[in-house]
């Protein structure tokens, strides 16, 4: 795995005569302008304005007039120059002229330039105690819960080892943290005697692990006015938990069950856009992302008041990619997925289902990502019709359409998108609490009406 300020990428390693090799052009191409020419056994390389010369079968190279020793002979294969993995850091430093270049040879992690992300571990003796990991840049590890431990795997982040790779904590639940690197990734394993809850804050720079609630009842819903730092229960298997993902409360009548640690929500509400992605500018001061979040909180309350457990994917002003939204939604195995958008064009509400046609699931538990929605489209259309009927009862103009709108196609549950516009010519009415509540109420009623069909599809 190679990390640079511009990019992070991995390369295949080939074995020749017991030594590991990589293509030197493959290493350099993402880092800058590179050109190579072959002249017999000589192989000349130009990177930006620096020159190097290699000779097939030789263990020496000339880089900017300086002789550099290679750990094993340079190889020429079909015009491609292969250099040994051993000592790659020094070679890349000389060829690119970049400093520092750090190579963790055992784990094959190459850091080109000032890219390192460092972190500290601190066990805070709060009640209950929490492990706070503070990073110098935002991180988004994949998090896996296994019996007795939680593993944070950093694939894309150039994480550097902490001062001590093993830390033992004086705590009955969070016992220790062990840092390791292997095969291009960094892994932090936290030994624990109980399920942990992970939450991100400080724009993804702080990751807090705390003991998950042990009761089946969920914590109360977050206040509708203030964004909160999120937390998500860890599951058996691997669950991506990006910053901002929040599990919110539920009504007792539909208490979500822990199934091997993973909470199954009936509805997932996805407030569109967020963070750097503002969505449409509804006015100079009103970005779409804010209206989506406000509407999501109204909808959460309305669903809860009807005994429907729900999860808001983004309950803060954070950036989530479309892939992260679909992954999170799919991890929660909801009966319905509802994406929320807002627009200044048109009047009332537009309900969208995926543009793809229905097709029966012929793939068992493994769904192709691009067409994961295919077997749920029919139920989604039924749900959209039910919601439309309820909204019209509230005198809200409503249309039902299909749309090429991600991540609807990638969700393994009936997926709806709702675009809310002002009820009249007046844009401020779009953000009027009464109007949002009225729309949310209609949507919740529509979902309740098709609960049996949605349950059947789970």
């Amino acid at each position: 795995m190679i990390f640079s300020p511009l990019t992070g990428f991995s390369l295949p390693v080939v074995e020749r005569d017991g030594h590991d090799y990589v293509g030197l052009v493959d290493v350099l191409e993402p880092l800058g302008t590179v050109a190579a020419t072959r002249d017999g056994t000589k192989w000349r390389l130009r990177f930006e304005r620096r020159n190097a010369e290699f000779i097939g079968g030789q263990t020496q190279a000339q880089v900017e007039g300086k002789t550099l020793a290679l750990a094993s002979p340079f190889l020429l294969e079909s015009g491609r120059g292969l250099v040994p993995v051993s000592g790659l850091g020094a070679l890349v430093q000389e060829v690119t002229g970049t400093k520092p270049v750090v190579f963790h040879e055992d784990s094959r992690r190459l850091f080109v330039g000032k890219v390192a992300v460092r972190f500290t571990e601190e066990l805070r003796k709060d009640s209950p105690p929490v492990l706070v990991l503070t990073f110098t840049s935002p991180v988004s590890p994949s998090i896996a819960s296994e019996p007795g431990r939680v593993r944070l795997t950093f694939t894309r982040e150039p994480i550097m080892p902490p001062p001590a790779t093993y830390n033992k904590f004086d705590d009955a639940v969070i016992a220790s943290a062990q840092y390791e690197e292997a095969n291009g990734v960094a892994v932090l394993t936290v030994a624990t005697s109980a399920p942990l809850l992970a939450s991100f804050s400080n724009e993804g720079r702080t990751l807090t692990l705390s003991r998950a609630p042990q009761t089946r009842a969920a914590k109360p819903a977050a206040p509708a006015t203030a964004p909160t730092a999120g937390g998500a229960p860890l599951a058996s298997g691997t669950v991506e938990v990006p910053p901002g993902a929040v599990s919110n409360g539920t009504a007792p009548a539909a208490a979500p069950a822990f199934d091997n640690g993973l909470r199954h929500f009936f509805a997932v509400i996805d407030a569109g856009h967020g963070g750097e992605e503002r969505g449409a500018g509804l006015s100079n001061e009103l970005p779409e992302k804010d209206v989506c979040l406000s509407f999501a909180r109204h909808l959460l309350k309305e669903l809860q008041s009807r005994g429907i457990s729900a999860l808001i994917l983004r309950d803060a002003d954070v950036t989530l990619t479309l892939e992260q939204r679909a992954s999170l939604a799919n991890s929660a195995h909801p009966a319905i997925y509802i994406a929320l958008h807002a627009a200044s064009q048109g009047r009332g509400v537009r309900l969208y289902t995926s543009l793809m046609p229905y097709s029966a699931n012929a793939n068992g538990p493994f769904q192709p990502w691009e067409v994961a929605q295919a077997s749920y489209v029919r139920t989604a259309v039924v749900a959209a019709a039910s919601v439309a009927a309820e909204l019209r009862k509230h005198q809200i103009p409503t249309r039902v359409l299909s749309a090429p709108l991600r991540p609807l196609n990638n969700v393994i549950a009936p997926a709806l998108a709702i675009e809310v516009s002002s009820p009249d010519e007046d844009l401020p009415d779009l953000v009027a609490p009464n109007y949002q509540q009225s729309v949310a109420s209609g949507v919740a009623d529509g979902v309740v009406n098709v609960r049996a069909q949605l349950e059947a599809g789970r």
Binding site: A280, L322, H341, Q345, L401, A403, L405
Partner: protein, 197 residues
């Protein structure tokens, strides 16, 4: 004493030189000077007889797509015809009182028929970068383009939309451009978009 025949030869030679010089001067006067301004490269206007086409025109108010007939000159080549049809549609959206205004400077750079049944529409960055953001308003643009293309150029069943020759995730934050548009699905959606209810 200079021989007589030599005098005559020199006289004839001088007369010839004088005559040729005069002719060259005359020719030079007739050569036009270099143009002061370099001529801009202008695409040739479409040639061929006018033909009736169907444009699927978006109307923001009330958010519908309407089939409108138009008579435009169409070239012979299938690819060129595809491009001309979309240019005609775009021209409507760039009019001052357009029913679905697109940003000034929006262009369809090219239309490629790259594979049996597949078309690629390459729009310029202005069209996407300055497009209004919203699910419906973006959907109207892409469905209008794809449906107009497939309705007028037979044999197209998949359409890809690129922006400045590159793949783009969404048109302006909503309409997905990563997937191919299946023209059968788009036709169904165009039917849905015919009316408000």
């Amino acid at each position: 004493m200079i021989p007589r025949h030599l005098k005559i030869g020199v006289t004839v030679l001088l007369a010839t030189i004088l005559g040729l010089s005069g002719y060259m001067l005359r020719l030079k006067r007739h050569v036009p000077g270099a143009p002061a301004v370099e001529l801009a490269h202008v695409a040739p206007p479409p040639t061929g007889p006018k033909e009736q086409v169907t444009l699927y025109v978006a109307y923001d108010d009330p958010g519908i797509l309407v089939a409108r007939g138009a008579s435009i000159p169409l070239p012979q080549g299938r690819q060129e015809r595809a491009q001309e049809v979309l240019q005609a549609l775009l021209a409507r959206y760039l009019e001052e009182d357009s029913s679905h205004p697109l940003p000034a400077g929006s262009e369809i750079r090219n239309v490629y028929l790259v594979d049996p049944g597949m078309a690629v529409i390459d729009a310029n960055a202005t069209l996407a970068d300055r497009h209004r953001s919203g699910v419906l308003v973006e959907e109207l643009t892409v469905i209008s383009l794809v449906q107009t293309l497939s309705a007028n150029v037979p044999g197209i069943n998949r359409v890809k939309i690129l922006v400045d020759g590159k793949e783009r995730e969404t048109l302006a934050g909503h309409a997905d451009l990563t997937n191919l548009f299946d023209t059968a699905n788009v036709q169904q959606l165009a039917e849905q978009l015919k009316a408000v209810h």
